[in-house]
């Protein structure tokens, strides 16, 4: 246990011990890019369901986190949109999956606030629209703001380009997106990384997520789906 605090490398099987049906799961990624493929496959393989998932979007039906939606494993989604995943739309319309929307920038801040141990943030984004419905308001210097509450999850999963044994993480270009925010907001955070290096091999300046926020690192088996643009190109 103590050993694991300095060397956090584990296997997918060890990671899966933290997952159970009915849990709240937060995930990094944006349109599938940055969704952690091996951990999602692990959840599928182990039959975990009744999930509440929190992340930017539900990707596409056969891509990333969308695969959990398509497989009927998701009870509730908190996201900024589900537009790229028609299956999610159908499940919502049929009342088989609950969906809660936040404006994207607000959602990102809510996740960060959870990760940073804050109660929430104040924003005027969404004032005068249905996005303000049911939300507490606060006046600051004569201006009105919405109280947007922090989000955390029992487990957070992220996809990193590189990790070291201590759990320091570096991301790949625009796959950064929600990943560093989500990495902070899990009570347990599990990262899958395309490459795992020894502690000390990452430059302290390049680290985006300090290992303090990460509980386990597993090797990624890589993306196991076809991107939309690949199938478009092929035709």
């Amino acid at each position: 246990m103590n050993h694991k605090r300095m060397n956090k490398i584990g296997t997918l099987d060890q990671a899966m011990e933290h997952f159970y049906s009915g849990m709240t799961l937060m995930f990094g990624g944006f349109g599938g890019v940055g969704n952690p493929p091996s951990l999602i496959q692990g959840i599928l393989d182990r039959g975990i369901d009744e999930l509440t998932i929190i992340g930017n979007d539900t990707a596409f039906p056969d891509i990333g986190i969308g695969r959990l939606v398509t497989a009927g494993r998701v009870k509730k989604v908190i996201a900024s949109h589900i537009g790229s995943n028609p299956v999610a739309g159908e499940l919502m319309t049929k009342g088989e999956m609950e969906v809660e929307f936040s404006p994207q920038g607000t959602l990102a801040e809510r996740v960060r606030a959870g990760g940073m141990g804050l109660g929430g943030i104040l924003t005027d984004v969404g004032l005068g629209t249905i996005a303000e419905e049911g939300k507490q308001k606060v006046e600051v210097d004569g201006r009105t703001y919405l109280v947007e509450t922090a989000l955390t999850a029992e487990v957070a999963i992220v996809h990193a380009k590189k990790a070291d044994s201590y759990g320091n993480l570096v991301y790949d270009t625009s796959a950064r997106n929600f990943n560093p925010l989500v990495a902070m907001a899990g009570d347990i955070t599990i990262a899958e990384a395309d490459e795992i290096v020894e502690t000390g091999e990452l430059d302290p300046e390049e680290i985006v997520t300090p290992g303090a926020f990460v509980d386990m690192v597993i090797p990624s088996r890589g993306v196991n789906w076809t991107w939309m643009w690949e199938s478009t190109t092929d035709k």
Partner: protein, 220 residues
């Protein structure tokens, strides 16, 4: 309308003229995505993508894609010199702090007051707002690129939106295949008409009164 010229191309070409050197610009999905193709080569701008890029560039050549480097629509991009990557809070901090000089978005409805509805049709289409509210509410200039009318001929430019708003009083300009309209304090000003349409045709196709100046420019 010219044979072989898609209305989308007409709108995108005209919208590109609004972009000035040095701007930070966010292009929405659909017609806005096409705008970049019509930029004059002597104009340098920094394109902002909600998924965490400032300075995204053209599509890579086939086979050269990095699947992790995509625009907000999920398609592979490249980056220009000076580009940076950041997480989604910074992407939206740039928006919320008012650093986007221009956002070009699509619309379901635009009102004469500049109200925008572009994300939800209650009971029918409820995809979530994504970044639309942040972009519409916080960009220095919001340009709507849209077909002038719905498929049934009904106007998309109206006195008052019937759909839930993305943001109230946020739109500065509407560019369609028929006209360029500016949202002013006292309503819509007809700035330009497309060469294939008359001022009267545009007025009839629009669901809100238009102020028509003595001289209305023509665009192609």
């Amino acid at each position: 309308m010219d044979v072989g010229v898609d209305y989308r191309q007409i709108i995108a070409r005209r919208a590109a003229q609004e972009i000035q050197h040095g701007m930070i610009v966010n292009l929405g999905i659909g017609i806005p995505t096409l705008v970049a193709d019509y930029l004059s080569p002597d104009i340098q701008v920094m394109f902002h993508a909600e998924n965490g890029i400032l300075g995204s560039g053209p599509s890579p050549e086939a086979g050269q894609e990095n699947p992790m480097l995509c625009n907000a629509g999920g398609f592979p991009v490249t980056v220009v010199p000076g580009a940076s990557y950041f997480d989604s809070t910074v992407a939206f901090g740039i928006i919320r702090r008012g650093l986007l000089d221009m956002t070009i978005l699509g619309a379901l409805e635009v009102s004469e007051k500049g109200d925008l509805a572009n994300w939800i049709v209650p009971g029918k289409r409820v995809p979530g707002m994504g970044g639309a509210i942040d972009l519409a509410q916080k960009s220095k200039k919001v340009i709507i690129t849209t077909r002038h009318n719905n498929k049934d001929g009904s106007p998309k430019i109206v006195k008052s939106c019937s759909l839930p708003l993305t943001a109230p009083r946020c739109v500065d300009m509407v560019i369609t295949e028929k006209a360029v309209l500016e949202v002013c304090e006292d309503g819509l000003l007809l700035k330009e008409v497309h060469q294939d349409f008359s001022v009267d045709e545009v007025k009839q196709a629009t669901g809100a009164p238009l102020k028509v100046p003595d001289h209305v420019e023509v665009f192609q």
